[in-house]
């Protein structure tokens, strides 16, 4: 018995090491590629770069790829849409969680059904709505599309709202607080853990989204990170070593978020599945 356990433990580590290798192999080749010169890239294979302080590729990426502009634009879009998202999400959750009214069930159902509509394919029609609103080729387009609360967000917020004792609301009412004050001073602060999780998840999703910016903001000045790196491929493709540097830079923000805020991300992912 003891022996099979030991063999099984060894096997577990063996499988984990293989999985780690598969995860790291592509990342490793990008990391070393980013520090190599063009000739070195094509000649040295998987070897480590000669000079870890060779930042030429990174400089070129910022010049040619307009990554700086991309980061600036996506930051603006992120701040506005995530802030709006939190405000709307908490408001909807408060209204649906604390009050019983005729439209409560239909509104919940509306969010649930909207989830099964494949967003990519409805863009044909969404496109004309955005054009009609005059938001085409401006930052208003992605912001409008990201602003609305989604069902996952509402479900997570509702769980939290329901776990806040109603006694708190009632004692505030006795002291004469308005309903808006109850939302602002009691409900909103107590939703903070859920808000943290949702901000992080939304930020990662929006940062990673390619299609919305690609479709609705074709102007050069409106490049975001996704569309900036997209222009590295295709007819005007950059050298592989320069592309590697670009990929590495683009990876960094979400990796940093992930390393420091892991537990919020895992909480969000696990909560999302149990819905």
């Amino acid at each position: 018995m003891e022996r099979t356990n030991k063999a099984w433990t060894a096997a577990k580590y063996f499988f984990l090491l293989i999985a780690m290798f598969v995860v790291f192999f592509p990342i490793y080749s990008v990391v070393i590629g980013a520090f190599k010169t063009q000739i070195e890239y094509y000649q040295s294979g998987m070897a480590l770069p000669n000079d870890w302080l060779n930042f030429d590729n990174f400089k070129r990426v910022f010049e040619v790829g307009q990554l700086g502009l991309g980061f600036k634009n996506i930051l603006i879009i992120l701040v506005i849409s995530v802030a709006g998202n939190v405000v709307f999400g908490t408001m909807v959750a408060y209204a649906l969680g604390r009050f019983d009214f005729k439209l409560r069930k239909p509104i919940m159902g509306m969010y649930l059904v909207a989830q099964i509509i494949p967003m990519i394919t409805t863009q044909v029609a969404t496109f004309s709505v955005i054009k009609y609103l005059g938001a085409y080729d401006s930052m208003a387009a992605p912001i409008l599309l990201y602003l609305g609360a989604d069902v996952l967000q509402i479900v997570i917020y509702l769980q939290f709202v329901n776990s806040i004792p109603r006694d708190l609301d009632e004692s505030a009412m006795i002291e004469g607080a308005s309903l808006f004050k109850i939302y602002r001073s009691i409900i909103f602060p107590l939703l903070a853990p859920a808000t943290a999780t949702l901000i992080i998840m939304k930020t990662i999703n929006i940062y990673n989204d390619f299609y919305t910016a690609y479709l609705y903001m074709p102007s050069k000045e409106l490049k975001v990170v996704s569309t900036a790196i997209y222009s590295f491929i295709g007819p005007n493709a950059a050298q592989l070593n320069v592309i590697s540097a670009g990929i590495l830079i683009i990876f960094i923000p979400t990796v940093v978020i992930f390393l420091f805020l892991q537990r919020f991300i895992f909480a969000g992912v696990t909560n999302g599945a149990v819905k």
Partner: protein, 292 residues
């Protein structure tokens, strides 16, 4: 506001808090979905507003043109890849919920690809798969498997596997973490009781683990299926649909924005929407039946 009765406040709050979110959802989810239905019966080009009613012509075209409906064949690669991914994710989730040193570290590392930028991942794999200078072929060469070298994106028999693998690489960690969450919710005394009764590791897995997380396994299968039906960005970014890698959605996008056949693309979207809806309804029915 302070002078209003709570009844009046209630109306104000409900109206003020729900109007904008509901309008957003109606404008950007429901209105597009409904107008798609209308466009799907027209010959709209997507430019301007001229369109003629053509009845079911678009739908006929979808089911008779092999390059349109046949694109689902390529979605099958992502589905098979997704099944493999779900099985692997469950396997590693079981490993990482057992007593093991450094399991939180392993969990974090295996989850890492999920947070990486999606376009950058695809371009990274473009470098890895590069026929001449790609790190995959270099690796195969250096470990003496030169004969295994392939033109990973050039060979039409292989390219879809290469693309589906990227999807596994990216989403494997997500499935695994969801499974870990489900596994941790199983009370450990059940396993101890089974051990006392002499159950083997496999028996506990088969008769305790699997039934306990059945709903999560089902959910993952549905996500795999709908995800595969909607597979789009990997082939679109990597190949621009070339070399027989078009999926149904990337074909739809091309029809709408490249070939100016918005009417046909709308009909394709409706077909996809119906398929996804049917899958979900069937799953819900099955789930509820088991609940009884």
């Amino acid at each position: 506001m302070f002078n209003l009765s709570y009844k009046a406040q209630r109306y104000l709050i409900l109206f003020g808090f729900l109007t904008i979110p509901v309008l957003l959802s109606l404008t950007f989810s429901y209105y597009p979905a409904l107008s798609l239905l209308y466009y799907s019966f027209t010959d709209w080009t997507g430019l301007g507003w001229d369109m003629n009613w053509v009845g079911f012509d678009n739908y006929k075209e979808i089911f008779t043109r092999s390059d349109i409906f046949g694109a689902f064949k390529n979605n099958a690669y992502y589905f098979v890849g997704g099944l493999l991914q779900t099985a692997l994710a469950l396997f590693f989730a079981v490993i990482l919920t057992s007593r093991l040193k450094g399991r939180n570290g392993f969990r974090a590392i295996l989850f890492l690809p999920y947070v990486l930028h999606s376009v950058a991942i695809v371009i990274m794999f473009k470098n890895v798969y590069h026929a001449e200078y790609g790190s995959l072929n270099i690796l195969l060469d250096s470990i003496g498997l030169t004969s295994w070298q392939q033109s990973w994106l050039g060979n039409p028999n292989i390219v879809n596997f290469s693309l589906a693998f990227i999807s596994i690489w990216k989403y494997f960690g997500l499935s695994m973490v969801i499974f870990i969450g489900a596994l941790q919710s199983i009370p450990s005394d059940i396993y101890e009781a089974a051990k006392i009764d002499g159950a083997s590791g496999w028996q506990s897995f088969r008769f305790i683990t699997v039934p306990s997380i059945r709903s999560v396994i089902e959910l993952m299968m549905i996500l795999t299926l709908t995800g595969a039906l909607e597979a789009f960005d990997i082939p679109y970014i990597m190949m621009l649909g070339a070399n027989g890698t078009n999926t149904f959605v990337s074909t739809t996008v091309d029809m709408a924005f490249k070939f100016q056949k918005a009417g046909l693309a709308s009909a394709m979207s409706i077909v996809l929407l119906l398929i996804v809806a049917i899958v979900i309804v069937v799953q819900r029915k099955l789930l509820f039946r088991e609940g009884k």
